[in-house]
Structure formats: C-alpha cells, structure tokens
Symmetry: C2
Subunit: 506 residues, 2 copies
C-alpha cells in the first residue's frame, strides 16, 4: 500500500515539476518586463506570460493528473506531513477549478487585462466612468468564477466575498475582519484626533531635498546588506513600482524606485521589500522540495514586510543605527538635521489621500475603506457611480480629507482591475506583526539589537517562529502557534497608541 502511494506521488511530482518551472519562467518574464524589457517588446512579453499561464493551467487539467490528485487525496493519511499538506491544497484547487474550462479561464483573464487597459486610460483622464464598465465586468467575472467552485464543506458556508478572501487569506471570515476593523477605526481615529490637536511641530522640509540616483542606489544596497539580504541568492534592481518576487530556490529579487525629491520613499520601499525577501530566503528547504512555497498568505507576507518597514524600520533604535550612514550618503540632505529630527520625520502623521504614501498610523484606515467598499461591490450592494460617492464619503469620515478628482480617489489603486479580497491582507499584516512583536520582545532585547545593528538574532527568531510553518498553516493556526493567542486587534492598536503618545507628547 505504502509503496503504491509512493509511486503515485512520484508520478504526480512530474506534473508539479513541469508546472513549477513554467511558473518560474512566468516570474522571470514578469521581472524582466518590469526592469529590462524595451518599450516595444512589452506586448510580446505580456503575450508570453498569458501563453505560459495557459500551458500551466492545462497541466492540471490532464486526466492522469486529476486521477492522481484524487487517489492521493483519498490515501493522504499514508503521506508525510508536508505531502499531506500539499495534497490537500492540490485537491482543494482541483475542485475549485474543475468547473472552469480553459475557455472560461481565458474569458476571465481577458476581462482583467482589458480592465487594466481601461483603468490606465481612466487614470490618465481622471474619469472613473471610463473604468466603470470594465470594473463591473471584473466584478461579474469574479462572482461567476467562485460560483463555479465545486464547494467543499468549508466553502459551502462562505459568501461570495468570503470565498475570494479565502484565496488570499485562507480561512479568514467577514465576521473576524469586521470585528478587527471596527475596533481599529475607533481607536485609530481617536488617536488621530489627539495628534491633530497636538501643538507638536515636526520638521519635514529636508525630506524633499534633491538626491542623485547613485546616492539612492548606494543607500538601497547599504540597507539590504544591513538587514542581511543574501546577494548570493538575490538581486536588487530598479523598477517603476517596488516589488519582491521569488523566482525559485536561490533566487529572490527586490526592486525599488528612485524619486529625486523623495529619498525616503526608496528607503522604506527597500526595507519593506527586504522583509518580503527575507521571508523567502529563509524558507525551509523542504518547502521547495515539496512544492509548498506558495503556501504563505498575503497577510502573512505583508505582516513580515511591514514588520521590517515599520516596527523595526521606524523605531528609535533603527534610526540611531542608520543616521550616521545617512549623513555620509546624503550630506546635502542631512547638513542641518539631527538624529531626533529624522526619527520624528519618518513618523510624521498626516491624513492624506494616497494609500501608498500614507504614514504608519493612517495606513490601516485606507485599507479598511477599501475593504468596506469591495465587500459591498462583490455583494451587489454597491454599483455604478455610487462607488465614487461612497469612496469620497468614507475618506471624509475616517480621514477628514476629500479627493478632488478620481485619480487621487477611487482610481488610485491597480488592484480592482484583477482582484477582490486582496486588500485586507495589508491591514491584517499590521495586526499579526504587532502580536508576534510582543512575543519577540519577551525573548530578545530588540531595541538594543537594533541600536547595535545586530540583525542575525532578529532574523533567526523570525525564521524559527514566523517563517518556519507559514507555508503549511492557515493564518489563524499560525498566529496562535507563534503567540499562544487568538488573533485580536489590541496588540497593534496599543503599539500605535504608545508610540504616537510619546512622539506627539499627547
């Protein structure tokens, strides 16, 4: 019996290997497209990605593959833990995809790629109505797609929006999110009011001083080395939007962008992306061998990137550490700036319209707004022009600001051209990482390690506690195993309250 299972697993592995390398090729083409590919080659490389996606999708439609997945699922108790975990995931995906033909799949992808084109046009013209028909098509396509799932027990009780949520954040529910976010809105807006009323003056003029690309490149490489990004198994490049991508074992890539009058954007992009990269570089070898590497949820990933970016990167200890080097790299910026002034500037709070430029405190509010809107859009309660109105009203309510046009409002993010249920991950990341930061502080003197630039023990702690099982657990199991506690909003909100009370003297 055991032997039979082994043989089946080996046969299955051939399909998974083919798929894995096709996906690796897609990621390389994607990276190339964002960093190297000349303008007139981008159509062709976009088409290359579509064709490879379809070939990869086709592999899991082969009858022999499906039979193996079914049989191994039935026999999963005879597999190792890693393989059982894999088979359960494959079986789930097979069932979800089994109602979707290659033609349907193509139709869905087509709606998304058209939506991207029209979203770009709409942004250029600043007109939501140019994007609206495509947006409605994508909403309809996403609704249809998850309606076609052959549901299992878990799926049966889920709403359409929860099914989408489950794709990015396994097991997450609207009930849990509603609870976290309503407490979040309450305590963050309360804190924000106090900050707005505070007389504290924070200097930010020097953040806009002009720097060169060479200085920014030097700074990026300094930060990556400091945080122990491994250049033997990684690469740093420049692209329009910063991102991180693991191509495959031994190859994780980080990009950033260089704005000549906003050097801090590069600094925190690099630290953020480096967090994503460490998560991949410090992954157990077995996860690669057993095809488990995409098990981490988006929320887990954002928790790590935002842990490095905010909890570490915007801490007093970290600023003490990097201040001398910043003075050395950017002498023209820091000629009259103290260490304390830098610390305050990186933590300056100002409610604003653009999510990606938001400070650590208000960022979560931007996400909650998107969550509330997309839930209603997928639920069919919010359609047409009412979307813009709802967007603007919520910005006024939560942040006290009002977009002057759709470009700085509802058109700002690319996400709704192809994904719903993704946004909550950004906010969840903050709730998760504040919880494991509490745990880490029980075991390590984090502030002291930061002051001394000792990242090895911090990364090691992350590897053992946070990274180790991330590919195999759903987020609720994972956060409970790390911290011994159930997911709750308090750790994050307390962290914010303590930090900003001190900075603003409120």
């Amino acid at each position: 019996m055991k032997n039979d299972v082994e043989q089946k697993y080996e046969r299955l592995k051939k399909y998974l290997t083919r798929e894995a390398y096709l996906k690796q090729a897609i990621r390389i083409v994607e990276f190339d497209r964002a960093t190297v590919c000349p303008p007139e080659g981008r159509n062709g490389s976009g088409e290359t990605m579509v064709v490879l996606e379809s070939e990869a999708f086709g592999i899991k439609k082969e009858a022999d593959y499906i039979q193996l997945a079914q049989e191994l699922y039935a026999d999963r108790e005879n597999l190792t833990e890693a393989r059982r975990c894999l088979i359960e995931r494959l079986y789930r995906d097979y069932r979800r995809n089994s109602g979707i033909t290659q033609e349907k799949k193509y139709e869905f992808e087509k709606a998304k790629s058209e939506a991207f084109v029209n979203w770009s046009k709409a942004r250029e013209q600043g007109k939501f109505e140019v994007f609206l028909p495509s947006l409605e098509k994508v909403v309809a396509a996403e609704r249809e797609r998850v309606s076609l799932w052959k549901t299992d027990e878990r799926d049966q009780n889920r709403s359409i929006y929860e099914r989408l949520l489950d794709e990015y954040e396994t097991g997450m529910t609207v009930e849990v999110l509603d609870a976290l976010f309503s407490e979040g809105v309450k305590r963050i807006t309360t804190l924000l009011k106090k900050i707005n009323a505070s007389p504290k003056q924070i200097r930010t003029d020097f953040l806009y001083r002009t720097v060169t690309d060479e200085q920014q490149e030097k700074c990026a490489r300094y930060l990556l080395e400091l945080l122990q990004f491994d250049f033997k198994q990684g690469v740093f490049s420049v692209s329009e939007h910063p991102f991180t991508e693991m191509m495959g074992k031994g190859d994780t890539r980080v990009t950033s962008h260089f704005y000549p009058n906003l050097f801090l954007s590069n600094v925190y992009s690099v630290i953020h992306e480096c967090g994503h990269a460490l998560f991949e570089q410090l992954q157990p070898d077995e996860d690669h061998a057993e095809f488990l590497t995409d098990g981490k949820t988006m929320g887990m990933h954002e928790s790590v990137s935002r842990f490095y970016e905010n909890i570490l990167g915007r801490s007093r200890g970290f600023i003490h550490l990097i201040y001398p080097k910043m003075c050395e790299i950017f002498p023209q910026v820091f000629r009259d700036v103290s260490e304390e002034e830098l610390y305050e500037a990186v933590n300056y709070v100002e409610p604003s319209l653009i999510r990606t430029e938001a400070d650590e405190l208000t960022y979560t509010l931007h996400i909650i707004i998107r969550y509330e809107l997309e839930k209603d859009m997928i639920g069919g309660k919010l359609t047409g022009k009412a979307i813009t109105e709802a967007w603007n009203e919520k910005y006024k309510e939560y942040l006290g600001v009002m977009p002057e046009n759709d470009r700085e409002g509802v058109l700002q993010d690319i996400h709704w051209t192809d994904s719903f249920g993704y946004f909550p991950a950004y906010a969840l990341g903050n709730f998760y990482n504040a919880m494991y930061y509490e745990k880490m502080k029980e075991e390590l003197d984090v502030e002291k390690l930061l002051m001394q630039g000792e990242f090895a023990p911090i990364n090691q702690w992350m590897k053992e506690h946070v990274f180790q099982k991330a590919d195999r657990q759903n987020p609720s199991e994972w956060i409970e195993e790390i911290t011994g506690k159930k997911l709750a909003a308090d750790a994050f909100l307390t962290y914010l309250e303590q930090k900003y009370t001190k900075i603003y003297g409120i």
Copy 2:
C-alpha cells in the same frame, strides 16, 4: 479547397503560437541567467530552460499538429509564398524529428549538459582527458541523432557531417567548404608570411591602458547609437561573454563585457553584436507574423556581424569618425595617440593561440583548423588523444604557434560540448560579406558615408539587399540574389590582400 487550407493553417498557427511564446520565454530566461540571475539561482533557471524546451518539443509531437503539417505540406501550392516556405521547413523538421522520441531527445540533451560540466572542469585543470569521455559521448549522440532522421531526397545523399552542417547552414556541402578553405589557407598564409617579414612597426602599448566601467558603458552606448541600434526595441546589458538575442518582435538585446585593461575588446564586441541586432531589428514584419524569423543561417548572421565589426568597424573611415569621441571618452588612453596609430592598432596582425582574440586576418585560419578537425571527428577518423595532437600540429602549420597546454589549445571553445558543424559559419560570414561589400560599393560611397557618420543609407542598403529575404532563402540562393554571383573565395581574399598590403607597406 482554398478555404479548407486556410482553416488548417489557422489551426496550425495555434500550435506555432504556443511554441513561439515558449521559445520566447526560454530566451528571456537565458538572457536573465547571463545578466541578472544570482549565483544560487542558476541551477533553477537552467532547469527551467530544460523543462520549457521539452514542453516546446512536445507541442510538435502532438498528433493533430503532425497531421496538419503533413496535409498542408501536400497542399502547399495553395499557400502564400511565406507560408509555403514555413510549411516546407516545418515538414522537413517534422521528418527529421519523427524518429526521435522525447526520451531520446532527453538523452541527447543530457549528454550535452554533462559535457558542459566536464569541459568546465577540464579547462580548470587544463586536462583534455577530463573532457574526452564526454566529448566522445556527444560525438556519438550527434551521429545517432542525425542517423535517425527520416531522410528526404536532399538528406539521403549527405554524409553525417553534412547533415549537421545543414542544420546551421542549409544546403552547404563539404565540397564547397573544402574548396573555399583550401584557397583561403593558401592565400592567407602567404600574406601572413609577408607581414611577418615586414619591417613595419605598429604601436599597441596604449591598448592596455586602464579604463573604468563607466567609460566603457558610455563608449558602448555611443557606438550603438552611432550605428542606429534602436533602443525602443532593444536593450544593452553586461554579461561574461558578449551575445545578441532576439527575444521576440520589438525586443532585441545586445551584451558586451568590460575588461579594465583591454578596452578594444568591448569596442569590437559591441560593434559585432550590433550587427547581429540590426539584422533582427530591420527584419520584415511579415517574417514575425509568419513564424519565419529563425530562417537566417548562422553564416548569414556572422556575415552581418563581421561586416559591421571588420569591414566597417576596422576601416580607415570609421576610425576617422570615432577617433575624436574616443579621445573624449578615454582621455587617459589617447593622451599621446594619433588617429593613424589607432587605425593601425585595430588592424595589427599577430598569429596567436586564442580564436576570440584573433585579428581579422588570422581569424579565418582558426576556424578552418576547427572545421578540419570536427569533420574527421564526426567521420570517425579522429578520436582519443590524437585530437589534441592534430590540433597542435595544425596550429603550428597554419599559424606558426604552439599551445603550451590544452586550455589555450583544444579546450578553448565551448562549441564541442553541444554542436558540430557550427564553426564553418564564422568563416563563411567573411566570404559572404566581402562579396556583398563589393556590390554595396558599386552603389554607395561607403568610405565617405563612414567618415560622415551616415549609417542610415548603409543600414537601408543592408535591409533591402541582405536582410530582406534571409529568412526564406538558403545561403547559396541568397548570396547569388544579392551579388549575382556564386559563392567564391576571391572577394574576401582580395579584400584582405589589398587592405594589409597597404597597412604593412608590403
């Protein structure tokens, strides 16, 4: 009838599209591997390429594809010229591959990838015997592979070596090569003796002066722009060995390398690779639409790259053109060097051991040596240790130099780890381009255009005469259509004799 053919062609096109984009992905992964990929990611990306190759090979083994190729071949008179040309090629390849199973294919590829590993080891240790067993396996694999061809009329009368030759240089025969090369050896060695006996002193000391990477990058971009490389549909990067690769329509990439004490290596690598790139960038759109872009032979390609590198790039007019810019970019090199001294230095003749560093005159002798050896190896007349001995003897005979070890002898080139029949293309390139250069000079004042830096008319002439039909004709048809003459050695040898007689005053 016509309609039926159209429908079949449309069905066939779907297979070709899938294959074309898989191949585009392979090229992007390959480029990425040579320019960006971190050391520990190279195994994975190598494996990605192998898997994609196998997927692409599999497409043309699908029964429906084979049936379409056969039926369309039978109906080829009802197709447009471009499509007939394509179908003939597809049918030929189908017949050649039909005896080769996917397992056999894998076995052949395996022999080659092992040969690469052992060749690298052998080079490190400087020992041919470390490479020899792998070399013999590759020779056996290549012999077996072409023996398995289902031969057509053309193939039936070909020897094993000629079949290999045909893969790189369609229609080329041993008889033609023997005639060209024996005349080549005779006239080049005669010229070489005169040069060796000449009292002419050529200054080369400044070629070894130290330059920075920034200067070399600037120089590379200057040359590419000068020759009208199109950066909207192309990219310049740095890699260990210079190469050019067309990813797909609108995306042709050129690389070079920067040696700090040999700036000329970068200069002529860039010009050479730019020649390859112009050939691709100025290709007719229809060749892309009809999947004909790989119709150019290696000899045609080398003729163009070596035309730009040598005939244009080492001409008196070109040196006059670039000399001021070279002084500006590399002031420390040119502080005491005249234009005439630069011209002489780029044409300095010295028999040497390493092909890739050889001067324009002796380069062809390096190729002829390899041709004579590989023909005998594939013919079974040259095996074992005798290969090294034969190599060394021929170097002594043709060039008057003797390798001190296998690294600077028989182990210097990577080619025999995976291909036989490829080398002649390098020499053929010289014979071809000297012939069309004669024709070009009848229509354009090339020297004057070079002095004035006017590349548009030169590139336009190349586009109309040399590039236009290269994807559709075999080399003998092509050279005859361009020049009105049959392939012969005289144009190239006369060009060399006139050029060097003048430079060396002999």
